[in-house]
Symmetry: C2
Subunit: 216 residues, 2 copies
């Protein structure tokens, strides 16, 4: 019974996600669903991305949080369109919440939409939003065992950004082993090593984003 309810919820979500995708495509918007644990650096990454892509592509942002509008306020200072979704307890964004946000986003004025999901390595992996790519931010302090514990998230991601590599000297984290395990779960995954603090690797990431956006 519980499984049936979950299937119904996921099925309905897929339908709305397909409509979101069609809406994005008709406006030539490339959309990325950014997922991670709490505090892995999604908001900082969005800020760095906006700074580097200013004048190169037009960005919009959807911020997802259980509570607060802290991130939307931070992003809003960069003078890009931003919509905050508060899930009010739900541990992930879903297609319907995203649909409501898209209705309030000037889609004809943007080319790249960054959707920051709720900080959670589990449920967001199950709920499509209509995005073109799923990007997982995985940070060094979380430890290199996370793919074993949250395999679905690593399986679903198109890109993994290994963030906070500036902290490598102070922590045990085997980047090579981590990358091998991820590729074992998901052979076609793209991996970038980045630091939003030092800027290392951010050029490669925004270059990938720009290529994807220009292909829409």
């Amino acid at each position: 019974m519980e499984i049936k309810i979950l299937k119904d919820i996921l099925g309905a979500n897929e339908q709305i996600a397909a409509r979101n995708r069609a809406l994005l495509d008709s406006n030539n918007v490339f959309a990325v669903n950014l997922m991670s644990s709490p505090g892995a650096g999604k908001t900082c990454l969005i800020l760095e991305t906006i700074k580097r892509l200013k004048g190169k592509t037009k960005i919009g942002v959807i911020e997802g949080d259980v509570s607060s509008s802290l991130d939307a306020e931070t992003i809003g200072k960069e003078e890009v369109p931003v919509i905050q979704i508060n899930t009010g307890g739900e541990c992930h964004l879903d297609a319907n919440m995203t649909h409501n946000a898209l209705n309030n986003m000037p889609l004809q004025d943007i080319e790249l939409l960054l959707i920051e999901n709720v900080g959670n390595l589990i449920c967001p992996a199950e709920f499509a939003l209509g995005e073109h790519k799923k990007v997982l931010v995985s940070s060094i302090p979380e430890g290199d065992d996370k793919p074993f514990k949250y395999p679905l998230m690593f399986h679903e991601a198109d890109v993994v950004l290994i963030n906070k590599i500036d902290l490598l000297p102070y922590l045990k984290f085997d980047t090579e082993a981590f990358s091998q395990v991820i590729k074992g779960i998901n052979r076609n995954i793209e991996i970038f090593q980045i630091s939003c603090v030092t800027g290392q690797g951010i050029e490669q990431w925004v270059s990938w984003l720009l290529t994807q956006t220009s292909q829409r």
Copy 2:
């Protein structure tokens, strides 16, 4: 309709949690529900706790993960009774999973039960397991804005352990402001600053645990 289902689930969970609590009490076992983001240091904390309390109290461990038995294998080396729960996709432990684990735990032979919940700052806060105290491990690299984004978790916790304070020199984190915000959400909360790597603050934590355990 969805809200009604959630209420039913939570109501049924509370009933089983009350039974778990009675079972723990009848065996004079003090139980702690350890919660945190992925990679905040729960397993490392359990290891340090076991090492320091060896010969002082008898410990059992329940390990909760979506997938893998990595943590149970690590803890098992310390020669304490350990049960791994794999939730198979569920983003939190619930009272029923805990009940099944308790049935396989030699309760008459332990005095302190450490339950490591699934790494998630959202849903575990809603599901009582029958524990006596909820302990939240919040680590420095996650950032000091987490109480604003995950208020329920900080509201429900009895204790917050600020972990990885050895990384303070390398990160922006205002410990004083963080503590003030938490106390604003939850006036009676106890806060310890710890590092599982350097051992700082661990004595105070195990001393608190030992006092609680001896009061059963």
